[in-house]
Symmetry: C2
Subunit: 176 residues, 2 copies
């Protein structure tokens, strides 16, 4: 993984892809699938996401206030579905699904080696967790796999149906 400037984090998340979220507590890692996330600010990059107290990752995220957001490309779609259909309460998902846990630089939860980008995050605001499961994260370090060129992300439409990135269109824009 190569370092990616934090100013580019929004370009990864703004299109709304399915992402994976890793956590770690007491030496145990976990990974969950997440589609409910959005950017909140460009600089520093702030991200809002929903992790429900029904998710096994909730306790670790709330207690450690650290996570990694990892971006899977199309080729990982079947694995993503499997990760989403089971709970870390019962199994070690990294082992079960052959995911490579790489050490992060600024947080304890691991990067996922098979993902084309990884964003290390710290929870900076928990005031909306009780009401909505909404965590506010600050991206503190980001990584990009230079080997995966032009990865196509997947987007969840519900009930296991995903759209994959297709055509890219470019317009002149005065804004970010």
């Amino acid at each position: 993984m190569k370092s990616l400037p934090l100013s580019k984090v929004y370009q990864l998340l703004e299109p709304g892809p399915v992402v994976l979220l890793t956590t770690a507590i007491k030496g145990r890692t976990n990974v969950m699938v997440m589609s409910w996330h959005m950017m909140l600010e460009f600089t520093p990059p702030l991200i809002a996401c929903v992790v429900s107290n029904r998710n096994h990752s909730y306790a670790a995220l709330r207690a450690t206030k650290e996570c990694v957001i990892a971006l899977p490309a199309r080729k990982l779609a079947a694995t993503v579905v499997k990760i989403g259909n089971c709970s870390g309460r019962r199994i070690d998902k990294f082992e079960a699904f052959g995911l490579t846990a790489l050490p992060a630089a600024r947080v304890a939860p691991p990067l996922i080696g098979e993902c084309f980008a990884n964003i290390e995050c710290k929870v900076i605001d928990t005031r909306f967790v009780d009401a909505y499961g909404l965590f506010v994260l600050e991206a503190v370090k980001a990584w990009r796999d230079p080997v995966q060129k032009n990865p196509r992300t997947i987007h969840h439409r519900g009930h296991g149906v995903f759209t994959v990135d297709g055509e890219i269109v470019r317009f002149k824009s005065g804004k970010k």
Copy 2:
């Protein structure tokens, strides 16, 4: 536009498309482009979105607590970019870009006739507006244009670059 069950709203927004947000205040309508949004809850459908106080729509949304989220398909992409590159402070965007304002059922801001879906929303929580420009919306009525079959949405990657929905892949899923 035909009525769409509120239980299907998340299927529109969870994939992360670029949307349009309409507001109305003192008889003046406006429309802005928005990519920073996410689902917060299935039932009732709750949506979080970021509308900055630098956006002209901010004042109307904050004061009236009503908006419509409209979903443009690929064919509207060039118009979406134009809407995003100017301010309602100076022009009537509905008129300038030939958008059809249709009356909504539950809120004052208009639906957009050219969009394939419209979601009428009420602001239900403003506690995070000052900190992050984050509004919590409840979808109170949704509409679908039956004429636009299989619309492909657009997703913003920054700097006027968009990806368009491509391939659809289906997996067995135990969850929503």
